[in-house]
């Protein structure tokens, strides 16, 4: 996807000299220079379509207004994006589009997030002259598992048609009829059922394709968005999480309302799969938000501040031989690079713990595009850090083990409760780090609620070995905290590598330390 670096040429946009890449279009050159040229049908993922006519600009020496989305820049080209002719033409396009638009913004999910609204506000502001009868069309066509098409709102930019032609190659939608009767519609007997259908609602610049999952749930302006990385497979698609920051008039059932794709040409382009888009319930449902103390000796009351102290004390009380054979770890690959590195450093390198297992969801099926067969985001990272990813063997695990530190909720999916209970009952001390309330939790002495990737800071290594950093998009619920914090404290408690732990490291400093120690992360970190 890397474009060859072209020579730069000089052009003038609105009399301002601008450096533009040779061979690029006027629209892209303007965008690069921070000048937005309004457009509806143009989408950077597809070749220019040229049908909406919103992006017309005036170019010196050209008799007509030209399309900025398709006109290639030339040395010394003088472009005006704000001349009277351009402004008038833009207004005219908006006037045409709005003439046949139902203007049902009050009940449109796209309101507040709609290019037609934004452009009218910015470039329109005319009084309607349309006295005729608008065309009647279908307003609620179910075109896919979660998609509703409103043909009256459609401005025929054909982004959806082109997406299904060029990305999924399923070609479920087409333009039917002619002239003002032209409508996007689904081909008879088909339905948009592919794993990328949700992208249609996202690339629709107006409210023509809406998502049943989001329809009438909230107003888009109540939502805030945070950047994150989808953890549901090892592609590491860049996402935006749209959540309700709290609105006092409503009792909100959940925080997260919608996941959107965030552009990253190297990873996911402009798209995410439906599993990543619609699978967001894991962010809110069944979350654990309090430390659970099922069985604890003495009068200790655990809070997140003294968890590492508690853990450190238990480990320190073991002989070094016992540490190696008596401690067992169950990890998973939703943990960040930094967390896995700390776990590796503390338990594998320093304590020489032998019994380290991984409990992840069972492997799924890749879809040939973005979705991979690995249902967790950081398997590659764990491998690069030096873990041998072994599945949990309960009899080996329990044999001679005094202290079990388990991470993640996935254990319960791998073994029957009875079998699991039997095996774990042999172990004296058991601590679980998990984000969820689950009956599995009752098998552990202590359960520490932890943050999800969307709620913490760190990095992940995707299936192709791309290391991607992430920042918290959401607040972790209740007493939850990120594992890396506990692990840093624990390192300090155990009195290891005092130089490293004395200044409380951040994920950033951990990653740079990883770069020093592991060439793979050095390379990726440069």
């Amino acid at each position: 996807m890397q474009e060859r670096a072209n020579e730069m040429i000089k052009i003038f946009i609105d009399e301002k000299p601008v450096d533009a890449e040779e061979g690029t279009t006027v629209l892209k050159a303007a965008e690069r220079a921070g000048i937005h040229i309004p457009h509806l049908c143009y989408h950077p993922a597809f070749p220019p379509e040229g049908s909406c006519r919103m992006c017309l600009v005036e170019i010196e020496g050209f008799p007509k207004l030209e399309l900025s989305c398709s006109t290639v820049v030339k040395e010394e080209m003088k472009i005006s994006t704000k001349s009277e002719r351009v402004v008038e033409a833009r207004k005219a396009v908006l006037e045409f589009l709005l003439a046949e638009h139902p203007l049902d913004c009050p009940i449109c999910d796209k309101a507040g997030d709609c290019k037609l609204q934004d452009y009218y506000y910015e470039y329109g502001l005319f009084e309607s002259q349309f006295k005729e009868t608008k065309e009647k069309r279908e307003k609620k066509l179910k075109i896919g598992k979660s998609l509703i098409l409103d043909q009256e709102r459609c401005i025929l930019c054909t982004r959806c048609v082109r997406f299904l032609k060029e990305v999924t190659k399923t070609q479920d939608l087409g333009v039917f009829h002619r002239g003002v009767h032209s409508s996007v519609n689904i081909y008879e007997g088909t339905s948009v059922e592919n794993n990328y259908s949700g992208n249609l609602a996202e690339i629709c610049p107006v409210g023509a394709i809406t998502d049943e999952d989001f329809r009438f749930q909230t107003r888009s302006w109540f939502l805030k968005e945070g950047e994150s990385i989808c953890p549901l497979c090892s592609r590491g698609c860049n996402i935006l999480i749209e959540y309700h920051p709290g609105f006092s008039r409503f009792e909100l059932p959940n925080r997260v309302y919608r996941i959107k794709a965030r552009e990253n040409p190297e990873v996911n382009g402009f798209w995410i799969c439906d599993r990543g888009r619609y699978g967001y319930s894991y962010l809110d449902e069944g979350r654990a938000d309090k430390i659970i103390l099922n069985k604890i000796e003495g009068e200790n009351v655990l809070t997140w501040e003294n968890i590492s102290e508690y853990l450190g004390e238990k480990i320190n009380s073991m002989s070094s031989a016992k540490k190696t054979s008596g401690i067992a770890l169950i990890l998973h690959t939703w943990l960040s690079n930094e967390e896995l590195f700390l776990l590796h450093k503390i338990f594998k390198k320093d304590l020489k713990v032998e019994k380290i297992f991984f409990a992840d969801l069972p492997e799924g099926e890749a879809d040939g595009f973005l979705l991979t067969s690995e249902p967790s985001p950081n398997r590659r990272g764990a491998q690069e850090i030096g873990f041998d990813i072994k599945a949990v063997d309960l009899s080996t695990l329990a044999d001679g083990t005094d202290f079990l530190l388990a991470f993640g909720p996935f254990l319960s999916g791998l073994f029957s409760p009875k079998y699991l209970k039997g095996a774990l009952s042999k172990i004296k001390r058991k601590v679980l780090f998990s984000s969820y309330s689950h009956e599995l939790n009752s098998l552990f002495d202590v359960v520490i609620p932890v943050a999800l990737i969307a709620e913490k800071e760190g990095s992940l290594t995707n299936v192709e070995g791309i290391v991607q950093g992430f920042q918290p998009a959401l607040e972790p619920p209740g007493e939850s905290l990120p594992e890396w914090k506990v692990l840093c404290d624990l390192g300090k408690e155990l009195g290891m590598d005092s130089k490293f732990y004395s200044e409380f490291p951040s994920p950033e400093t951990i990653l740079s330390e990883m770069g020093e120690k592991i060439p793979f992360f050095k390379k990726k970190n440069d």
Binding site: G50, T133, R178
Partner: protein, 412 residues
């Protein structure tokens, strides 16, 4: 100078059969071109002849051919026989009378440009003519004018007839290509132009039927002779199709530069039933209208451009004083509203909007400001659309509304 070139033998019985055509000297030009001329010489001759495209835009054919790049890709010829411009009926006439003259022109053009596959994209309604073309093609194969190693020149050519499905827009050259490829007939963005990226992404020459009809005559008689049939910058004759309120509507082949007044009053016999002339649409419905005072004009590309109209398809629609200009406007706006492909915003919605206003005026519900609205909307279509259909609609609407504003105002 003989007046008739293309239509000279059109009275002849069975001219559409290859034997009759050959008796009149048919396929001699093809023989000359393939056996005695080099492709470059043919190109040079066609360029010198100043043969301008007969489809409407008037682009010089020789120059169009010379844009085809030298590549290893296959090249195609598409003959545009999707005659859909209202008032235009010349191509159906010449094709049905003399299909072999078209094939002969195709052979020479293809040989000149290095093309081995040609398509005739014919309007769907012209079913009988499509059949006639098919027959002519099979005759030409039998006689060795088509197929492999034509006239032992080593040159191969196959010709296919493709019938359109009834959309005006498919006469626009890039929509024609889409349709020929089996897709919805939407115009493409230009550039790239078909000469470099055309049918199936390959270099393609697209010429109108009448343009191709002229080729064999240029080859036989030379460019100089051809220019003498018309004007120095606009060689040859033109097939004028006269319709409307004249005594003798029909096809008239006349030199380019013949006066419009003469065509109406001499050749077409003047006004029907002694009515007075009100207006003329000189080049198919897309051409801006001329008033009765403006008909002292030479019918060639440049003269009509000077008069802010266009020669277009040379289809002359004669309107008499009894015809209401509102009816004319209704027909025009209904047509473009109906035939807009719907791809780009101004054409899709603008034409429908204008048509809705005109219908409302015709229903007696017009308002004074409607006339200005029509002008404003048409101006907003003009120059801002993806393909020439936007202008083809806006220009006649603007000219009718401006030139006959008074009459239109009497309806609101």
């Amino acid at each position: 100078m003989k007046e008739k070139v293309l239509t000279e033998h059109f009275g002849l019985e069975n001219l559409y059969k290859i034997d009759v055509y050959q008796k009149q000297g048919g396929y001699r030009a093809a023989e000359k071109a393939l056996k005695k001329m080099k492709p470059e010489e043919i190109l040079e001759e066609v360029k010198k002849a100043n043969l301008r495209g007969r489809g409407g835009a008037g682009f010089p054919a020789g120059i169009k051919w010379s844009f085809v790049p030298d590549t290893d890709k296959p090249k195609y010829l598409c003959v545009n026989a999707d005659e859909g411009e209202p008032g235009t009926f010349k191509d159906r006439y010449i094709m049905s009378h003399n299909p072999h003259m078209l094939l002969e022109g195709i052979i020479i053009t293809a040989f000149c440009v290095g093309i081995s596959v040609a398509f005739i994209y014919i309007r769907g309604e012209y079913e009988a003519i499509a059949l006639r073309l098919e027959q002519a093609i099979s005759e030409a194969y039998e006689k060795g004018f088509l197929g492999k190693n034509i006239l032992e020149s080593g040159f191969d050519l196959d010709v296919f007839v493709h019938r359109g499905a009834g959309a005006y827009i498919c006469g626009e050259e890039t929509a024609l290509l889409e349709s020929l490829e089996g897709k919805r007939g939407n115009p493409r963005l230009k550039p790239p132009f078909p000469a470099s990226v055309g049918l199936f992404q390959c270099p393609t020459v697209i010429n109108n039927v009448e343009t191709i009809f002229n080729i064999s005559h240029i080859i036989l008689n030379g460019a100089e002779w051809f220019i003498k049939q018309g004007l120095p910058k606009d060689g040859g004759t033109r097939i004028f199709g006269v319709s409307g309120m004249v005594k003798n509507p029909g096809i008239y082949e006349l030199p380019l530069g013949t006066s419009l007044k003469d065509i109406i009053f001499k050749h077409a016999g003047g006004m029907k039933e002694g009515k007075k002339l009100k207006a003329v649409i000189p080049g198919g419905m897309s051409a801006p209208i001329l008033t009765a005072d403006e008909i002292n004009i030479k019918m060639d590309f440049d003269s009509l451009v000077e008069a802010n109209s266009m020669l277009g398809s040379a289809a002359i629609i004669v309107i008499d004083e009894k015809t209401s200009i509102l009816d004319v406007l209704k027909v025009v706006t209904k047509f473009y509203s109906h035939e807009s492909c719907g791809q780009c915003t101004p054409c899709r919605i603008g034409n429908s909007w204008i048509n809705k206003i005109v219908i409302r005026i015709a229903e007696g519900k017009g308002k004074k400001e409607d006339i200005d609205s029509i002008l404003r909307l048409a101006s907003n279509i003009e120059g801002n659309t993806l393909c020439p259909l936007g202008d083809a609609a806006a220009l006649p609407i603007l000219s009718i509304t401006k030139k006959f504003r008074k009459e239109l105002e009497s309806y609101v």
